[in-house]
Subunit: 276 residues, 2 copies
């Protein structure tokens, strides 16, 4: 094999690291792959770190210690994250999105892999430090977004079901009150899906008063799992109305009043605008 | 701004191209970003192409013509794809996965973002040439896998529902016969989700006799959409039993007989072993 040049090593490392966000790769792995010394690979990592920072492509982090190495953290700058969300606010304000019954059509946004990947990384941003063991969502619409949040964090996605199925084995089922009218609903999760003592990040596509979110928080309590946060893509906010669950970090805030001629009023959530 | 060096350009380009699989980026975009001549960027692309090929990291393709540029196609070598599927066959054969009622537990596999990304790329492999406009699946379990197939192809995911909801606007609903007992089921899709004349790749997580798959094919006919293929992650095959829909490309084939002490017998699908 010819000696692998620095620019070739850097191209390959960028590909390998970014394909597995938040996973730690040992330097030894790259040394073996490229037949290069550790000092050489360290210099490669430092070069990659600088260029990713310069072009706002995410962070290359060196992790010290016994389980140390290098990892890619898909964290955008605050300015880029806000700009990305703001641009989509414009898309969501399109009058054509207001459906009969005062609903907002967001299905297309929930199924664009590229868009979801960026939004997933933005949503994951505040939770890298808490290091959740998995992302929990409930079927159906939130699954693609939750998967991309899980991808950014480098953890598994766990999906609670509305009705349990035989192919999941034993399940734990809870009842919870859905906000929109005090209706009783159920939610199930396979017993083998999570373990006591783990940490969960709860993710959903949409919330109005937090009823489903609170159901997921209670489900985690049944499993002795700690909820480290709740992230929701779109939040519909009614002026002055109390919410069943308060501690929610959303990306888009849609005002409750919606006009089929003027479209919905959509804003980035305030935490996206706070100076770091 | 200091002049960007070749190894820095290559690191940044690897990140940008692989973050948006199958999307064409013009060379001009990179020229502007790096303040570099087209000939320089072309050489960068060629270097990246070679090193990706050398380490089996996917293909960097140059596309000529008016809409030309460069793109990343996440196509693995046949040997890598087969090895990856074979390793997971071992995981799926674990006796602990046989559930009461002769079901196989695959939920964890369906929610590991890294694993799904590789399986999605393998499943997409035979369909890059057909260039589908979107991937269609039906809720719920197949959504994460289908999203990763869509990501590899650089297209949208479209999700049919078991029951339609108000927030999707008008829908088309079909009835179809589910294989397992001739039961009648329904499937709905929002009218605005797809357009006549488009091409669909149908993807699901599991099939036994192809009933649900055939439902999706019929749904696409209602929308005047051409189905370019059907990809399924896990196929359960009963010796000699006819299938409702035949033209299915799966990744894993599980024999119908399953023993709680010995585990299921799981093989890679034959097409993965055929010489290219």
């Amino acid at each position: 094999m010819d000696k692998i040049k620095r620019n070739e090593r850097i191209g390959a490392m960028a590909r390998i690291l970014t394909a597995a966000p938040n996973h730690i790769f040992t330097l030894g792995r790259f040394c073996g792959m490229f037949e290069a010394a550790k000092s050489t690979v360290s210099e490669d990592v430092e070069l990659l770190r600088k260029v990713f920072a310069q072009f706002d492509l995410g962070q290359i982090e060196t992790v010290t210690g016994a389980a140390g190495g290098v990892r890619f953290v898909p964290r955008l700058s605050q300015a880029s994250a806000l700009a990305y969300v703001q641009e989509l606010c414009g898309v969501l304000s399109d009058p054509g999105r207001v459906l009969p019954g005062n609903f907002l059509y967001i299905q297309d946004l929930l199924s664009q892999p590229d868009t979801l990947e960026v939004l997933g990384a933005i949503m994951a941003g505040p939770y890298f430090a808490a290091a959740p063991d998995f992302v929990l969502t409930v079927e159906t619409k939130g699954i693609p977004f939750a998967l991309m949040v899980a991808r950014a964090l480098g953890v598994q996605l766990v999906i609670a079901r509305r009705d349990h199925k035989a192919f999941e084995g034993s399940v734990v089922t809870i009842n919870y009150i859905s906000g929109s009218g005090g209706e009783m609903k159920t939610m199930s999760l396979a017993k083998r899906a999570v373990r006591p003592g783990q940490k969960a990040l709860i993710v959903d596509d949409f919330t109005k008063d937090g009823g489903t979110v609170r159901g997921m928080v209670e489900l985690m309590q049944e499993f002795d799992v700690t909820t480290v946060g709740v992230g929701v893509m779109v939040e519909r906010r009614r002026e002055g109305a109390p919410r069943i669950y308060e501690d929610i970090r959303s990306l888009f805030i849609v005002s409750d009043a919606m006009d089929a001629r003027q479209g919905a009023v959509v804003h980035p959530a305030p935490w996206l605008e706070v100076q770091e």
